[in-house]
């Protein structure tokens, strides 16, 4: 265990390697195609889908516009009902809080509900350094953890694996983490699920402490909500004595009634289901029922930075459904690892730069460019995050952050284009060399990025503007009359 995204190369380099992995290409095309189809079917059934999207976006905007007030209210309600609320500015603080709780209870292992926030802060690795094993109990997270692998999708972190690969991982690795897989294991999905069930059950029954995230946190009632498909999360949330939930501050929604909108939007957008199978809600401690010590760690870790971005703050509406990943033609071909973050795909391409800032890390700066700006993500987003516009805005932030430094070839080219397009006269002059340009383009390195796999058009003998001038817009000979 211990695979991390630290030191990942810039997106185009990582993508090139991923594109060459034929098994990955096949697995991803199959999996994203299947989920895309399911989503489209069940979304098509809802006549007021566009209204639901608008409502989802509006509720999140209200929550974010008055974030401080909602968080203070959430803290008060949680505390009244017996929970201990902690505030963490960053991942290190949150990891420290969770580790200290574990040590106070002298546990050397915790079971985990699938949680993006804890992956974001590297909680498992931080706990491992303290000698505490964190066992992932979500089936796909278990596959990733046993395989010493990295998640490649928000909802389906092992989407890059097929069933034959999963069988191999279970056979080879389960024994080192607990109950081994049966030697007769085949790649039949029910058999694989049964092996995981037996492997995990001993962990559920033994664990004294669980760690979760939360999909939503209701300020009005102090309720945390976990939405999952397998029931493994429900086991973690009810069996252990101590429950610690790490919750991003953007997860707050003002009222209980708001859940109505999100519990309709989320399952259809994420798994393509009409209704979510296991929806767990809890508010503090219920005496004699479930965990008797409940902690909530409210995590910032760059969220207030994102909130300060005029356009980008809408990314904090994200409910982690993954619909944007599944429709993204870039994601479908390169997979999630190339994004170098637990948040891959279109949402990752904006969320990572928004959380970490631009201009400091080449990998982060490469993410806003990891898109053809086709707009498919915006079309499916259940909370209407305008990802293409944010991508363009972040590109401008990246360029601005590097102004004043030694200019790259690209910056020089853009300055040249800027001057040329500033005047029709200069453009007309440049075009006289257009034919020369396309033939030369085959010989210069930047253009080889184009010509490696694509022919260039031969280029006309005369530009449109030259034709217009020569023929008076086609009135004196030439087509167009």
């Amino acid at each position: 265990m211990g695979a991390t995204f630290v030191g990942m190369p810039v997106f185009p380099v990582a993508a090139r390697a991923a594109l060459a992995d034929t098994q990955l290409r096949h697995n991803l095309a199959h999996a994203t195609g299947t989920i895309r189809g399911k989503r489209a079917r069940v979304v098509g059934e809802v006549t007021d889908w566009e209204d639901l999207r608008t409502a989802g976006a509006a509720i999140k905007d209200v929550a974010l516009a008055d974030l401080e007030q909602h968080l203070v209210q959430l803290e008060a309600r949680l505390t009244e009902q017996g929970a201990v609320v902690h505030w963490a500015r960053d991942g290190d603080e949150a990891n420290r809080i969770v580790a200290d709780i574990a040590k106070a209870h002298q546990v050397d292992e915790v079971v985990k509900v699938k949680s993006m926030a804890t992956q974001e802060i590297g909680l498992n690795e931080a706990l491992a350094e303290e000698g505490i094993a964190a066992w992932e109990t979500d089936l796909a997270e278990l596959i990733v953890q046993l395989g010493d692998d990295l998640p490649s999708h928000i909802l389906v972190p092992a989407i890059h694996r097929n069933r034959a690969e999963i069988r191999r991982i279970f056979l080879d690795r389960m024994s080192s983490a607990g109950r081994p897989a049966p030697a007769t294991l085949t790649d039949d999905p029910p058999e694989l699920a049964a092996a995981a069930r037996l492997h995990l059950r001993e962990k559920f029954l033994r664990a004294k402490m669980a760690v979760s995230g939360a999909n939503f946190a209701v300020a009005e009632t102090g309720t945390l909500v976990v939405v999952e498909s397998e029931g493994n999360g429900r086991m973690c949330l009810t069996l252990p004595e101590v429950l610690v939930s790490v919750v991003g501050i953007e997860k707050v929604v003002p009222t209980w009634a708001d859940l109505d909108v999100f519990l309709r939007l989320l399952p259809r957008s994420s798994t393509g289901e009409r209704m979510n199978p296991y929806t767990s809600t809890w508010a503090g401690v219920t005496p004699g029922d479930g965990p008797q010590e409940v902690h909530v760690v409210l995590l910032d870790n760059g969220r207030t930075r994102a909130l300060a971005d005029d356009l980008g703050r809408q990314a904090l509406r994200c409910i982690r459904c993954s619909a944007c990943l599944n429709v993204c033609p870039v994601y479908e071909r390169v997979g999630g690892h190339a994004y170098g973050s637990v948040y891959p795909g279109p949402i990752g391409a904006i969320l990572n730069p928004l959380l970490h800032g631009v201009g400091e890390n080449a990998q982060t700066d490469s993410l806003p460019y990891a898109s053809s700006l086709c707009g498919a993500c915006y079309e499916v987003c259940p909370v209407k995050i305008d990802i293409p516009s944010i991508l363009v805005d972040l590109r401008a932030q990246v360029v601005d952050a590097h102004r004043g430094q030694r200019p790259k070839v690209e910056a020089v080219a853009m300055k040249g284009a800027s001057a040329t397009f500033g005047s029709a006269k200069r453009l007309g002059f440049a075009e006289r060399f257009a034919r020369l340009g396309t033939s030369m383009a085959r010989r210069i390195p930047v253009a080889s990025a184009w010509t490696g796999a694509r022919d260039l058009p031969s280029g006309p003998t005369e530009s449109f503007r030259a034709w217009w001038r020569r023929t008076d817009g086609g009135r004196n000979g030439g087509r167009g009359e």
Binding site: Y369, L373, G375, A419, F421
Partner: protein
């Protein structure tokens, strides 16, 4: 003029920089087509580029000179028609961003005038002129790729299809996974060339699956990418801009 839209007195052609330099036949086709429909289209000579290549690469300040040329060239026209969903989208959705950032209130005011008057060719034909049968003839098997910006940024919907269906002799075949991006994406095609080519390879495969002679679209930039791949594969399928098909008649066959 075949429409009852009396307010359209002066119509300008925004030919786009890529058509101007590389695909002048598309510009000529728009002129032919609009004249046939009774629109005396003008070509404001001061136009250069809408600025999209700079904006989408993050160079917003560098787009300002292009934007100034744009508003100087097109201000005062009732309608600005362009054979590109992408460039129409840039004018309608991005010009104001660039103008505001420039801090020049005059530029902001100028964009407020020009941006709402920009129409992608099929929008202009169907919505403003109210025609779907433009009197074209093109006896070939054709498949249509809806480009992303025309489809999702502008929402041209089925307008191109309505126009193609009325073309005499044209047989329209469905493109599998039609709404998926071809992978061009402006400078994406160079900055992420490998991914761009992987996307384009799938688009080219789908085009070939249709058995069409011609793949048609409303954006020559996307067609340059798709066509570049089809040409490299010696596929025997050619690309054509929608305007060139709509301009073709029985008496004036377009090459």
């Amino acid at each position: 003029m075949c429409s009852g839209v009396e307010w359209i007195v002066r119509v300008a052609l925004q030919v786009t920089c890529i058509n101007d330099a590389l695909f002048p036949d598309t510009g000529k086709a728009v002129v032919t087509l609009l004249r046939r429909l009774g629109v005396d289209v003008e070509f404001p000579a001061g136009q250069t580029c809408c600025g999209q290549p700079m904006v989408n690469t993050g160079y917003l300040d560098e787009a300002v000179p292009a934007l100034r040329s744009y508003v100087d060239a097109f201000r005062g026209y009732d309608a600005i028609v362009t054979p590109s969903g992408s460039c129409a989208g840039s004018a309608r959705h991005q010009h104001q961003i660039v103008a505001r950032r420039s801090g020049d209130p005059e530029l902001v005011a100028a964009v407020e005038e020009t941006a709402p008057r920009v129409f992608e060719l099929t929008e202009f034909l169907v919505d403003q002129l109210g025609v779907t049968d433009v009197g074209a003839s093109f006896p070939h098997t054709v498949t249509y790729h809806p480009t992303c910006h025309s489809l999702r940024m502008l929402g041209v919907g089925d307008r191109p299809r309505l126009l193609l269906e009325q073309v005499k002799g044209l047989r329209l075949v469905e493109l599998p996974a039609a709404t998926e991006c071809c992978g061009f994406g402006g400078t994406f095609a160079l900055k992420n060339a490998d991914t761009s080519i992987a996307m384009g390879a799938d688009k080219a495969r789908h085009v070939r699956e249709t058995g069409a002679e011609v793949v048609v679209a409303g954006d020559n930039s996307c067609l340059m990418h798709i066509g570049g791949l089809l040409s490299r594969q010696r596929s025997g399928v050619r690309t054509m801009h929608l305007a060139e098909i709509l301009a073709a008649t029985e008496s004036a066959v377009v090459a």
